[in-house]
Symmetry: C2
Subunit: 340 residues, 2 copies
DNA sequence: TTGTAAGCGTTATCAC
DNA sequence: GTGATAACGCTTACAA
């Protein structure tokens, strides 16, 4: 650590070590291309001076930053937080640094963040979901920024991705609900517009209904943003319908927990009076009473795999695969047969 | 948006607009120092070419990045997520970009992240808590990186900070518990070592006990990392003591919810058989049944104020204040009188 | 108001 | 194995 007031540069190190800047640079970046003795001496000086490479200069000269950017809708939902944690750890192991920003589910903000991260020299980007303006993809291609989509999976997509089939997963969950005997189901969905995950989940339920000989147009849907209170409000609205739904499916666990709380406040028992399901299987799902029936999404594995794929992609090791992960149905106390 | 395959530079814009690079630069950075007509023309070319400034070059030349770094212990706890969201929004309004990384409560990782962010030219840094190696503060001062501490407050501290008094807040909560008649209290604390918030909260309880004529050494403490399951395990351990505690205070809401769940699993009623308290007042606190008695921390306001202070600090508008925010006691169903 | 030109701190291509 | 030296793209005195 330096005691001086100035920031040491490569030049300072070179001068102090009595070598050229090129050699110092080599000691730091390709240590094997410099003889042991020189290296030791140089690294000692680096240590003594507390030298840290100037990132901007390095980025400009090397056109490489070992930085990955991740842009997520929100930090407030545990699913992204947990996935990112795993993503970061895996990246770190590969020598990359992760920089995160969030958009609050706003497309314009996302576009801005993408530009900011690209401008900062991010070698690769992790994006959530596929739906966005084509010009963004064009921009990314133009700048040759490796881009990976996560949290969604779609067969036949061109974009490298690590995700799961939102449609199939929700369809499986809906089938389980129908198999319990439910015929009047309601859906509390996240905002559908511009959110391919929410849209796919919605379609999954409709398909399950059709497949079981029910009319998908009978499915009442309330769209809302992903907040606990909104889940509660939507639940109350749905339960005022006649005839009353016997099962309320929710776009994610957060909405489902809001619905459960409101059910309790309304004096309704879960699952005796009404069944409730979620999606994600975050920690919350097992904290509530009764525990929440939901679809487990492998968030951590997704983060880990995404890191590997993205690094392979930008290092040219992989051409960019589309990887599908499996979800798992979690049948718990919040789902039961309909009241007779 | 450019159709070409090359990234346009300032030079390309200058050439295409028939002006010098200096003028283009001025159009972008100090538009008032260039005549209307030139500006319009230049900006049109910028738009047409899809020019984006190269960040590294800009940082190197201007020694300013309009980037703020935030380093938090974990993204998995809602308290940081929510505070950061507000922090980011306020920063955005002031024209700054936020970059986040997390440490998993590991000091070495934090040091590394600090270096990474500083190397990337962060103009300012938001750090959680005060406890860290002095050499880090020296490094930050040396690099003249504006640094603000959040989530903690300590009278007489030199470091600019926006926080609350963890000690006083927990002491107030403990007093409320004692006032209910509890005499045998247990504490489930976050890891104390290197965590000034956890340490201050612990001390707060001890002081409350002393002040009420109780012996603080009678307070059993279990230290654990902040995870739901750990809260449950610690709860079970504490409840095996003889005589059994009548109230379990927890270092945060997450631990408290874990304790509540375990209580239910053990067949104990809350608060009839045992009272439980948390700290933070995250959403979770009002989702559980009964609702959790806790201390409300103004996370969003803290994020907002931190952004303002940090920007003022690095822009030289403020010398760096120490700001204390107030917490609020939330008495809810999980706290009742001890069993008679 | 605008242009010229000197850095800013690296990395990489050559010679040596 | 090591050392000059030319980029890299931008900002900012200083001149015009």
């Amino acid at each position: 650590m330096s005691d001086g007031k100035t920031i040491p540069t490569l030049d300072d190190v070179a001068r102090a070590a009595g070598v050229s800047t090129a050699t110092v640079s080599r000691c730091l970046n390709t240590p094997d291309r410099v003889v042991e003795k020189t290296r030791t001496k140089v690294l000692a000086v680096v240590e003594a001076l507390g030298y840290t490479p100037n990132f901007g200069a390095r980025a400009m000269a090397a056109k490489r930053t070992y930085t990955i950017g991740a842009i997520i809708p929100t930090m407030e939902n545990a699913i992204f937080a947990r996935g990112l944690q795993a993503f970061q750890e895996a990246l770190h192991a590969r020598g990359y640094t992760l920089l995160v920003s969030s958009t609050g589910y706003q497309a314009e903000v996302e576009a801005e963040q993408i530009r900011a991260l690209v401008a900062r020299g991010a070698d690769g980007l992790l994006l959530i979901g596929r739906a966005r303006d084509p010009s963004i993809y064009a921009f990314l291609r133009n700048r040759s920024v490796a881009t990976l989509i996560a949290w969604t999976f779609e067969a036949g997509s061109q974009q490298p991705a690590v995700g799961f089939d939102n449609h199939a997963a929700m369809k499986a969950l809906a089938s389980a609900v129908i198999d319990q005997g439910h015929r009047r189901i309601g859906l509390i969905s996240g905002t559908l517009d511009g959110n391919d995950r929410a849209t796919a989940r919605h379609a999954g339920i409709r398909d399950a209904l059709t497949e079981h000989g029910l009319d998908p147009d009978d499915l009442p849907v309330i769209e809302t943003s992903y907040e606990v209170e909104n889940g509660g409000a939507a639940f109350e609205t749905l339960m005022q319908r006649t005839p009353r739904p016997t099962a309320i499916m929710c776009g994610n666990d957060v909405l489902a927990v809001g619905a459960m709380k409101r059910a309790r406040d309304m004096g309704l028992r879960v699952p005796e009076d009404v069944s409730i399901t979620g999606f994600d299987d975050i920690e919350l799902a097992r904290i509530v009473t009764p525990e929440l029936t939901t679809m487990r999404v492998p968030h951590q594995e997704m983060g880990r795999r995404a890191a590997e794929e993205l690094v392979n992609l930008l290092e040219g090791t992989s051409p960019g695969a589309v990887i599908e992960l499996d979800c798992a149905l979690k049948l718990r106390g919040s789902l039961g047969p309909p009241p007779s």
